[in-house]
Amino acid sequence: MSLQAQGMRTWLLQRLTAIYIAIYALSLLAWGVVNSPVTYHSWITLLSQPLILITTILFYLSVLIHAWVGMRDILVDYAKPSSVRFILLTGLAFALTAMATWLLLIVISLVKV
């Protein structure tokens, strides 16, 4: 894939994840308002449903991808010199991967219940 096409792919990925994040976040907030006050029981019942669990995993993955593109834009614009930028981008990738792993552990603990 050419360099231009990669930029196009990143651009599209940022928009698609944005739309998914908006829909999920507003839906979850609406659920919270409708089912207020949220109890432990209603919360765990919600997140234990396979469809909700999958949409939640997709939400976090979208957030992490969206954050990668956005934070990368910020670092590319402001972090200088390029050695500092490289270190920060590496740290960002490490942090995002760690967060994805953390989410995985949370999901595993939930499935076992």
Binding site: A22, Y40, G70, M71, M99, W102
Partner: protein
């Protein structure tokens, strides 16, 4: 790329007066950064809230500390501004509202709507 001209560089951040569209844009970045920084805490709260009845109560109780409320209001503004400014950018991507006059109006709208919604929602649910 090496510039051979000697145009002055003027990067005193306190003296640069951004146009309103620029303010909407830089706020989009700042709010995005704040939202990024909040991801680990959201994971912590998610884990705590799912760990059992006691953990859930502890997660809910953390919302009542004054510092947490302050952070939550900042986070609420970040979410609202990022959401609204994001919609604005999506419209501009579709060639809707690209003209300077409309772009300035939509920038004012996004900035004020985010602030007003933050105040209203904070007043009703957080404070």
């Amino acid at each position: 790329m090496k510039r051979s001209d000697n145009r002055p560089k003027y990067l005193n951040l306190l003296k640069i007066r951004l146009p309103i569209t620029g303010i909407a844009s830089i706020n989009h970045r700042i709010s995005g950064l704040i939202l990024f920084l909040s991801i680990p805490y959201s994971l912590y709260l998610l884990q705590l809230s799912l760990s059992g009845e006691a953990g859930f109560k502890q997660a809910i109780a953390s919302f009542s500390s004054p510092w947490f409320k302050l952070a939550l209001i900042l986070l609420l503004w970040s979410f609202l501004h990022h959401l609204l400014a994001g919609f604005r950018f999506l419209f501009i991507d579709q060639n809707i509202g690209v003209s300077l006059a409309v772009a300035r109006k939509s920038a004012w709208f996004v900035i004020f709507a985010a602030l007003i919604l933050t105040l209203v929602i904070s007043g009703v649910w957080i404070l």
